[in-house]
Amino acid sequence: MAPEVFNFAQTPITCHAFSADRKQVAVSLNSNDAQIFTRQGTAWTPTETLAEHDKLITSIDWAPNSNRIVTASQDRNAYVWQQTPDPETGKLVWKPTLVLLRINRAATHVRWSPKEDKFAVASGARAIAICSFDPENNWWVSKLLKKPIRSTVLSVDWHPNNVLLAAGSADMKARVFSAYIKEVDDKPAASVWGSKLPFNTICGEYASPAGGWVHAVAFSPSGDVLAFASHDSSISIVYPNGPTIYNIRISSLPFVTLTWTSEDSIVAAGHDCQPVVFAGSEGGWQGVGSLDDSTSAKAAAPRAGVGRLNSAAFSTFRDADTRGQSHSGASAPADTKLLTVHQNTITSVRPYEYGSGGRVVKVSTSGVDGNLVIWDAESVSATAGRLGGMRV
């Protein structure tokens, strides 16, 4: 099935989060406001604006069961938004609740815990704030995970047990922490990551192989495996027993986001503008192909150069620059388009639809090109030529 492409704006989509019923989506269009779009047939119309931050919003997460939105921003704040009836009109409106983050640098990433009673905010202050609700004061309070983080934390992901948290950081390490909060959590059962888990226990620390920032981390659905993508154009899959680490170096530009679609497959995307699928098990991992089907009609043009680099675009600009030639024909603009669906870096990939057995059958991506795309996660085009340089 062809991917569904929706253009939201001419500006980048920094992040996106769908509501549980997938009829609404919260996006940040590279601005201080988060916008909620509602689906009407094949179009998305803006219905509400969440305005409270005074710097760029970096991350949004929408809790599916409690229907609360959390936003994190460069203004060092996070807000939890909840739908409450307006006292005058009785209409449901989104109202923000303050979060006491206690960080002195930008908040970079935010995720609700599986039970939705906590959330984690990554930040540039070399810390992760674990936030839980304080009903007495009607605000969210935080506890900071600090040691041994040496630089900005770029991403976080929760383990299904609601206690463990993975974090990827610009000090080139992916780590697994315990984010156990006494007031909220029951004692967690022992897992492959450890048995005694007081707050800030480090259950694992893994370096990126060629010294790249760790852009994205994710636990597998069972929570027993960790995957991270780093700026050295590689993706690593960690089995904590041993530990066994599978590292796949890719021949294209780095990934910045990834998500597990089942216990044995991962979708990763980033600067290469297309979602790529990896598959494997404890015995080994490898790249399978791209969700972006390059064999469709629009990509039938001859491929030259390396990777997805479009040499036609290059020669168009070179002709205009050095020879004063400009193509005024109707075919010219098409030549400057990338051969992929997304026309720029993909900023975020998230599960969209679940099939039988908890498998993710559709994923959504948002990009710097202002597009939101919903992909069929199982229609992988084997792209031997395209990923020719990829080996395990």
Binding site: M172, G211, G212, I250, S252, L253, V306, G389
Partner: protein, 156 residues
Amino acid sequence: MDTAFRKIDIDAYDEDVLQEEELFDADPRDPAQVLDDAKQRQGAVRSALARSDVAGALNIVLENAPYGPNVEEAKTVTLQTLLTILNTTKATEIPAVIKGLSQDGQDTLMKYLYKGMAMPGWGDVSGSVLLGWHEKLTEVAGTGCIVRTMTDRRTV
């Protein structure tokens, strides 16, 4: 506007500043031993080249290449050795040689190509030869290889 404050090294006042050596795992070998290794490999590479075994020579020089601080001399020797190989290889042989390298080897070769290009006029550095290798290596290993060269703090 007063911009003098920009010249202050604020990191000097930060007790918790991230140090260069924390960014990568140091080479466990002793600097003197690394230098010995580099010199020995120079000989091994010469004899491999005498047998016109370019792939073998490249494998020798790219394996366990010196990195990190305190091994400047070994780095220089290794670069010199590598340049002899690059300069004596026929352009038609290059793609096959590169395909025969391991991924580590390809990444390390890319590091040396960039190091060479950063030192124009030094020793036997020839821009056209380096660019020729760079083109062929990028075709095989992709842009990912260049990105790894840029991110890796284990500089050669």
